[in-house]
Amino acid sequence: MATQHSRSAARVMISPAVLLLLAWMLIPLGMTLYFSFQRYNLLMPGAHPWVGLMNYKLFIQNPAFWTALINTLLLVGGVLIATVVLGVLLAILLDQPMWGQGIVRILVIAPFFVMPTVSALVWKNLFMNPVNGLFAWLLPKLGMAPYDFLTQAPLASITFIVSWQWLPFATLILLTAIQSLDSEQMEAAEMDGASALSRFWYITLPHLSRAITVVVLIQTIFLLSVFAEILVTTNGGPGNASTNLTYLVYARSLLNFDVGGGSAGGVIAIILANIVAIFLMRAIGKNLDA
């Protein structure tokens, strides 16, 4: 397949995608970089004086930055852990023989189709609202004190909402992976005297590792830029308790209309995202080859 002809054809064929993405990355990125060195507030037209690294300095010195950084990691990590752990358990459950498996699958998959804005609105208003939400009614019934989720545990609540949206994705991939496990391997383990738990631990889980990496990679890409859920539910608050980097950049550039500061934040967010990306790519690159 590797003739000169096909190689040059390949180059031609791949170039539209590469060029478009390159443009998509470089042009806005270049502009962002350019703006990040200016004092540029949308509300104050006129000259945009060059201010060097001041925007970066202000962005990093802002205590909200560190909170946002930690929140970002907590949110991504929390959702990943929740979806992978629950996803594995759920996938195993769904793999068991049962009645109405198809319907259960449909029920489980549904949250994946819900727009983030809608799901945030629904959770915030119909469920987590401390006065009118369903939880406000349910908790006292269960003998618990009413709890104001979005105020008292804003980040955890958002993590929960986002996990709900992504659990189907994880479950589905893991379920397919489980179903692809060679049944002879399971039988061999059984003949080898492994209990159900040992089989899960020594056979199923390692078999899933590749699927888990894919889940982690894809979800991370989307989770790093979680935004709508925060905007709709808590606006990043109270305080900065649920502000992630994306939201912080949003707040700077679109609530304060400080394009310079926002751009600096954007550049920082891009750098951080790429650090995470490199880590992940390394890991997954290895796992995808194996």
Binding site: T32, V104, M115, V118, N125, W137, M186, E190
Partner: protein, 276 residues
């Protein structure tokens, strides 16, 4: 492992799975139910499950307020448009990566994915300025372009994993049989990859349909899709749970139904080569 599963075991599985399935689905169900209640019933304590007076009033109100079908149509055009164009660009790229792999192939793929990590908010203003420059603001064309670029890496990756499962032999056979590259892709590769292409298409329609940042920020009235429709319900005055539920139901119903009907393809495509 075709040993008999005891009915008890199966019953336990069934009950557990149904309980969990219903719990996961409950928020959506509850939203749908609420959309048929009056505002007062929507916040009534104790909550009313089925024992309320069903009303379609909310749907009429919502429809009066904003022309649902225009938003709906925009959503359809934008998500389908960006997916189809994305596919047209991605199929050749995925072909090249899958069948003429080089040392850089994996890196190119990973780089493509990493462009997805660009936080959109960071580049909104530049894009906005560019769009203004080219007259793309509030046009479906503009959104199609952005969403195509947003989802292109995912499309390429999915197609790539799909194509890799197609034996090279068959493409080589076509080549021996005298097919040009174009014909090879049109007559052999694409038809063989139909399931993969279908699931790629589906996933991307879903992602584009639900994309809420660019669609909201780059449109005003003409090109605004359902995400903008929903945005106008996010915090209105007074009691609004039922209306919000109705609007939400209307916004998610099309894609939910599409997703359910095409579950199988979607699931297969979603595996991103994670499952060999």
């Amino acid at each position: 492992m075709a040993r008999a599963v005891t009915p008890q075991r199966k019953a336990i599985n069934t009950i557990a799975a149904w309980i969990i399935g219903l719990l996961i689905f409950f928020p959506i169900l509850w939203t749908i139910l609420t959309s048929f209640k009056t505002e007062a019933a929507a916040v009534a304590f104790p909550p009313q499950f089925l024992n309320f007076d069903w009303t379609f009033e909310n749907y009429t109100t919502v429809q009066e307020r904003s022309s649902y079908f225009r938003h709906f149509w925009n959503s359809v055009v934008i998500s389908l448009g960006s997916t189809v164009i994305g596919l047209i660009i991605a199929v050749p790229a995925a072909w090249a990566m899958a069948f003429v792999p080089g040392k850089q192939t994996k890196n190119v793929l990973m780089w493509m994915l990493s462009t997805k990590m660009l936080p959109p908010v960071g580049v909104l203003i530049p894009i906005y300025l560019l769009f203004r420059q080219f007259g793309l603001l509030d046009t479906r064309t503009g959104l199609v372009i952005v969403l195509t670029l947003m989802n292109l890496p995912i499309i390429v990756w999915m197609l790539y994993t799909y194509f890799r499962e197609i034996p090279v032999d068959i493409l080589e056979a076509a080549r021996m049989d005298g097919a040009s590259l174009r014909k090879e892709i049109i007559y052999i590769l694409t038809p063989m990859a139909v399931p993969g292409i279908a699931s790629t298409l589906l996933l991307n329609v879903i992602l584009s349909w639900n994309e809420a940042f660019w669609t909201l920020n780059l449109t005003a009235a003409k090109a605004a899709p359902l995400t903008a429709f929903i945005a106008s319900y996010s915090s209105p005055e007074g009691l609004f749970y039922a209306k919000l539920s109705a609007a939400s139901t209307m916004a998610i119903a099309p894609i939910l139904i599409l997703g359910w009907f095409s579950q199988k393809q979607l699931v297969r495509g979603l595996t991103f080569g994670a499952v060999k």
